[in-house]
Symmetry: C2
Subunit: 144 residues, 2 copies
DNA sequence: GTTAGACCCCGTAGTCACTATGGGGTTGAG
DNA sequence: CTCAACCCCATAGTGACTACGGGGTCTAAC
């Protein structure tokens, strides 16, 4: 069993955890490899390539479904790459939207945090910003 | 039952779904209200305020655990707001890190997407960028 | 009075991409 | 032979909901 590409060695080679590799197999994104006499998984170089592809795409934020589709498309090497481009561009759009959302969020957090004069909770601008505008302090406090 | 603040009205008033309100109650972040004869939840104004606080904090990206802590701190109104500030600043740091990660990601997606000449999959720069550098095309293709 | 529809109840399972736990079998070196 | 390191599998947990299924309740029109 010295030259066999075990799950541990594949994990090491791709920077993936063993559990994640088994999870990919169960998810159907990484094909089931052959087994040794002792029922250990025995991977081929093709598995290493495929797993590297998956990990790289995941690093770039593609969902597992998108990765599946990219892998499927990459099998049909003579076809137009338009479908590939579509997936990538859609993903980029989502990333741009997330960035824009987070930037607005940061602006708001900055505004809230910077107005706090560091007194008591009663005067805290952060708590105040979170509380509903018409929360009468006498009754109907935020505490239910 | 005309003036009772039912779960549906509370949902309407706060822009929350009924299921989410029940989920908040089960999570222990929104206290269990009284029940009517027909076993319907009957909310007080304090519930409305508390739920508004929760929704606002969630909009700002605080986790439910952070919201719980913010609510706990906001009960002790004579205390220093330092702990509140800590939570908010920690959250802001996390948001900044996410923005920075997504910006690098977008840069890389731009680089990958813009090099594609829109030919066949065999020539697609996107697929190429995802494939491992030393994937010999003859054998050990990305297809396992 | 009854029936239709809108509302409410509860528990459970599903989402996403893993991660963790537990209890066992296999391998390789000393 | 023993022991650690590795591997197997199934199940449950994460966060913050969302969806589903199978019922009970309320109101108003007929
Ligand atoms: Zn402060
Ligand atoms: Zn403060
Ligand atoms: Zn193209
Ligand atoms: Zn392309």
């Amino acid at each position: 069993m010295s030259k066999v590409l075990t799950i541990g060695r594949l994990a090491e080679a791709t920077g993936t955890s063993v559990e994640t590799i088994r999870f990919y197999e169960k998810s159907g994104i990484l094909p089931s490899p052959a087994r040794t006499d002792g029922n250990y998984r025995s991977y081929e170089p093709a598995h290493l390539n495929r797993l590297s592809f998956i990990r790289r795409a995941r690093e770039l934020g593609f969902s597992l479904d998108q990765v599946k589709e990219l892998l499927r498309l990459s099998d049909d090497r003579s076809q137009s790459c338009a479908a590939v481009d579509d997936i990538a561009k859609l993903h980029r759009t989502e990333v741009e939207r997330k960035i824009s959302d987070l930037l607005s969020l940061k602006t708001e957090l900055d505004r809230i945090i910077d107005t706090c004069r560091c007194g008591t909770v009663a005067d805290c601008r952060i708590i105040e910003s979170l509380s509903p505008a018409d929360a009468a302090r006498s009754e109907g406090d935020v505490t239910a």
